[in-house]
Symmetry: D3
Subunit: 135 residues, 6 copies
């Protein structure tokens, strides 16, 4: 099927598939909550965000999560950060990589953004009982 | 030499070495311009930015440029973007990867930021006579 | 009375009148709390914000709330959003209009800002037992 | 045809139609320039931005341009502002309404953002030889 | 005269007086340009900005310019920065103080914002033929 | 000892000394918490932030806190604000000065940022049982 003929239903199905790869069936609950409240927005989030963007080839899910985490840290979107720290770990980023992203962002977005992000990262790592391997 | 005993001179030397890897001797001119005007700031930019941050192991220069480009796009720092599009290409990111980063950022930082970034990317690609391989 | 001769007391009175139209006497409590703590700031908020800006003719209160909600969503000011979701509903914006504003902002300010805003909107709608009429 | 069965080609066609309503055939050039450089992004901008968002019913194009202008002013996206000042005038906002949006934003996003926006607005009004009717 | 009885005309006169202290008669041209285009906005900028805020006692003009420069640097408002670098020098901040503010901001708002600001500062210092006394 | 020969250990020691001047031994706990979790980041925060930046001569700690508070308010970093309201009071800023900074920022960063900041300031003043001397 060509891209031009792809329907919204197919965009949605592809988005949901990618989403499940990232956060598991259980992790889709937050987004299902949004979708129950405002269905068109929830559909768009899945079709456009996880379908049109995350499902593209060029960059793999690990690289995409590096981008996502950086963008969230830079704009101070701490509320959305926990979801993507989980996703980043699920698709194979090491916990130590995530810390390194936060540190690199300190130079680019300033230390307040990095400190704010670190609090969220710390909470997720605790929840998952992660033991860090830092030298 | 342990990290604790590393001197500012060594931090600077390491930073400059990494910087040259990223933009070549010729590419350091912008930063040398800053350093002539305000030496302490130029030194800090090199020692802290390119020494303490970019020279760390964990992530390679390609991953670090993904982070840098994303942070610049997200905060609308188009003036600083050209330098790092060059650097990103020099350390091995494909032109098509950079476009993909911009597109992914559209969802996270909004289309105006992505469009603003694309203008800069377009100018650098033209300057380097890059021919894109898009499917 | 000409604009030039308008006194601060009159600016304040006009601001307070507009404020009450927007949130009712009861809704002024948050701002009265600020005013008790730091009177000059509270006065300025009312005289300048609700007097000089909101009380101008050109745009009506519904249009002004579209602007306010958009600006708050775009800058991620979720703490100030609840107050203005209430105000927007009070001056006649439909709940479905507010959702539409959030969705439109997703394209301009990115999905994280839209999702953050939606959580606040959802809470206010619940508090007011609003039933949505979505097609 | 149901929304689910809508294809990407149809989303694109709808987006382009709305875009032409907003800026005329001639005004699509900037976006066609982006599309020539990076086709997938240009398609997405039209299908998603002008198709999925601007073409929705609930709010009319005038209300949508109030939202767009406000979001651009708030995030300091002066480069993207000119395009939408033109669009806003084309869909029926009065020049004086646009000035009023900028002024309201001064209170919410600060005076620097409002002053930056005003420079762009001034340039577009001059280009279109607009004579303001201010009291 | 009590603050309550102060009229808009007096707020404006006070604002203009403070403005002239900061940038001289000649420096008011930019703002007069805005005022010619959109009189109500220009009046508000002077009455509210330079009258209600800058003319308050508590902090002197030097401290206020530290705040203004920092806020402009942090939000990346480079277009508005030149005006206030001039003002800061006029009210008695040393050129070296301004550089120090930019450097401090690097840690809080990130290096891209600091570098962007430095370009503006450099241009103003050149225009005024300032020779720096750095150790 | 020249600046070039200064070691990381000495940068850290200087940073810690300045930090203690600002928040006391007890106030270093938050940062020690970060340092336990991610030692390299905690070290950098102290060596670079409190050593390289805050310990520089040119501006005193009071002026630096004016800059820090303004930058935090402008970027909406309310989570990091409490720490620096305490620090600002400890190094000698008057409570009324802090309120004045917030008010000045309303004009530059918008009222939502100022209101958000005021909530934090209010909480710290209550915690320290501060009685304001406002005219």
């Amino acid at each position: 099927m060509s891209h031009k003929e792809q329907t919204n239903e197919e965009r949605y199905r592809q988005g949901r598939e990618t989403l499940v790869k990232m956060v598991g069936e259980e992790g889709t609950r937050t987004i299902e909550g949004i979708r129950t409240f405002f269905p068109d927005f929830g559909d768009m989030l899945i079709s456009f965000g996880f379908g049109d963007l995350y499902s593209r080839k060029r960059l793999d899910l690990r690289q995409r999560e590096i981008i996502t985490l950086t963008s969230l840290i830079t704009q101070g979107a701490t509320d959305q950060l926990g979801f993507h720290v989980h996703a980043a770990l699920n698709v194979g980023l090491e916990p130590e990589d995530i810390l390194e992203i936060v540190m690199h962002c300190a130079g680019y977005a300033g230390f307040p953004k990095a400190c704010g992000a670190l609090n969220v990262v710390m909470a997720v790592f605790q929840e998952r009982s992660i033991e860090l391997k830092l030298d």
